[in-house]
């Protein structure tokens, strides 16, 4: 009995320190003060997933983002035009501890997930959702502004990366078309 209690207390303490560490390292929250961070800690949702379990699926309504505390997550996109069903899921990236995903849903009116996120092993995540952000803005506007500014930076950076990737793909296509015409 004593061992059971001790193990649980130890595990809880370990979980708490893991959450602290991940939040302190996270780009959105690392500018916050200690008191603000303690407030954020009371708002985030700790969720555990088994290997292969879906976190969210493409097309579902999404209300927020997840930060990885433990494990790895696969991000895939469903290609509905693929003839072969085995090739329908296109792998995009694998995310690990400290990475975050789904942040666009925090600012979208009725956000739908644009990709599928699946746990590849035992995964622990911290969920941070629209109602939590609204609560921060209502109860501590200063903290809300800090988070929203960082969120704006992240979304801007993602947009820039997408634009660069788009230009790159366009150039590659153009080069391919030129190669075809020269051959």
């Amino acid at each position: 009995m004593v061992n059971y209690l001790w193990e649980n207390l130890f595990r809880r303490g370990q979980k708490d320190s893991e959450i602290d560490l991940v939040l302190n390292e996270n780009y959105l929250f690392r500018v916050l003060s200690k008191a603000e961070m303690a407030f954020i800690k009371t708002l985030v949702h700790y969720r555990a997933y088994r290997p292969g379990e879906s976190i969210f699926r493409q097309g579902e309504l999404g209300v927020g983002m997840y930060i990885i505390v433990k494990g790895t997550v696969n991000i895939t996109v469903e290609d509905l035009r693929a003839a072969d069903e085995s090739q329908r899921n296109v792998f995009v990236t694998r995310l690990g501890r400290g990475d975050f995903f789904g942040e666009i849903a925090l600012v979208e009116q009725t956000g739908r997930r644009t990709a599928t996120a699946t746990a590849t092993d035992e995964v622990a995540l911290l969920g941070f959702f629209k109602p939590d952000l609204a609560e921060i803005i209502e109860r501590s506007p200063r903290t809300g502004v800090k988070i929203l500014t960082r969120l704006g930076e992240v979304l801007g950076r993602r947009l820039k990366e997408t634009a660069e990737r788009f230009t790159e793909v366009k150039r590659e296509l153009k080069e391919m078309a030129q190669d075809d015409s020269s051959n």
Partner: protein, 353 residues
């Protein structure tokens, strides 16, 4: 492959267990609200208090104070204000109540005489086919009911003491730990419907908060218009009647009629059907016009997006199941159910990119 199927079935089993536990807790909570005496009323009152003071709590908290300190400050401020208001109004209220108690026999007499006149007119016109005697039955009914109402009020107030004690206590914990409790409850929700339930909870909470604030504002404005109107025409028991009109205005559809009935009865008994009745009815009609054309479209209708027919049906259903309290809470409950069903339907069917 076999291992993948095994994991999949284990995940599904875990989701089912979590869902059953979550639903059981919700059902248990709702059942205890209905089963334990006075708990539902205390809960509704606490919820109303919480939604009224929560913007003030959040505002003060945003200035950097701790939530517990802010709640205590707001509670002390509100109790002081309420105490002062009761202290200031109660002498008028008690005077009017005593005066009403003394005048009740004369109003009963007046109503009986009115019924007498009506009986005579009816008996004179139907050439003896039906013999109607309204006055005796009416006298018995009015005497018993009015005595019961006046004498039963203090005992009603004392029996409501549990509600008066329990509501602020529940309200305090709702403000202090409400979000934490809902967060703990959300921990049990299975992963596959977690975001749906979180979104639902947030939407329903927002909708109920807006609805409660809108309806209270509506009642206060209607009560104030009635009070000003009755004072202007020099009508007796203005504070009592305005308070009654404000409270009954919370009951959809029949509330305004019930609210106006005592004033109309008093004027008919005292002065008969005439100009004074017209003035009194005008006061209530103006209050209702302001309500219907300004307050409802600008404040209430934006909050609850329900068709008028649905509103009538749910109000009737609420009255059937739980009486007056059912009529008052039927609309927000129906709105919450609508949000739930629409979201679940979207989650299950609208699966498009």
């Amino acid at each position: 492959m076999i291992q993948a199927i095994d994991i999949d079935s284990r995940v599904r089993r875990q989701h089912w267990i979590q869902l059953i536990v979550f639903i059981s807790i919700v059902v248990l909570g709702l059942t205890s609200l209905f089963v334990i005496n006075n708990l539902l009323l205390s809960f509704v009152v606490a919820l109303v208090c919480t939604y009224i003071v929560s913007p003030a709590v959040s505002y003060l908290e945003s200035a950097g104070l701790s939530r517990l300190a802010v709640i205590l400050i707001v509670y002390v401020l509100f109790s002081t204000c309420a105490g002062l208001a009761i202290w200031a109004i109660s002498p008028f209220f008690i005077d009017q109540f005593q005066s009403l108690k003394q005048s009740l026999p004369s109003y009963v007499d007046g109503a009986v005489k009115l019924a007498d006149r009506l009986t005579q007119t009816l008996n004179a016109n139907d050439s003896g086919l039906f013999h109607v005697n309204l006055s005796e039955q009416l006298r018995t009914l009015l005497t018993s009911q009015s005595t019961k109402l006046v004498e039963g009020l203090p005992s009603f107030l004392s029996s409501s003491a549990s509600v008066l004690v329990l509501s602020p206590l529940l309200g305090f914990f709702m403000l202090k730990d409400g979000r934490q409790i809902s967060r703990e409850l959300l921990r049990i929700v299975p992963n596959n419907i977690f975001e749906l339930i979180l979104s639902l909870q947030s939407q329903i909470s927002d909708q109920i908060a807006h609805f409660i604030r809108a309806r209270l504002l509506e009642s206060v404005i209607v009560g104030a218009v009635v009070l000003i109107g009755l004072w202007t025409i020099g009508f007796p028991f203005a504070i009592l009647l305005a308070a009654f009109a404000a409270i009954t205005n919370l009951i959809p559809y029949i509330g305004p009629l019930v609210g106006a009935a005592p004033a109309a009865l008093i004027v008919v008994v005292n002065s008969g059907i005439g100009l004074k009745l017209l003035f009194v009815l005008l006061v209530y009609v103006v209050a209702q016009l302001i309500d219907v054309f300004f307050i409802i479209p600008l404040v209430v209708a934006r909050v609850v997006n329900l068709h008028p027919i649905s509103v009538i049906l749910v109000v009737i259903l609420g009255a059937e199941v739980m009486g007056v309290l059912g009529m008052i809470i039927s609309i927000p409950v129906a709105a919450a159910l609508k949000v739930t069903l629409v979201n679940i339907y979207k989650h299950l069917t609208d699966y498009t990119v």
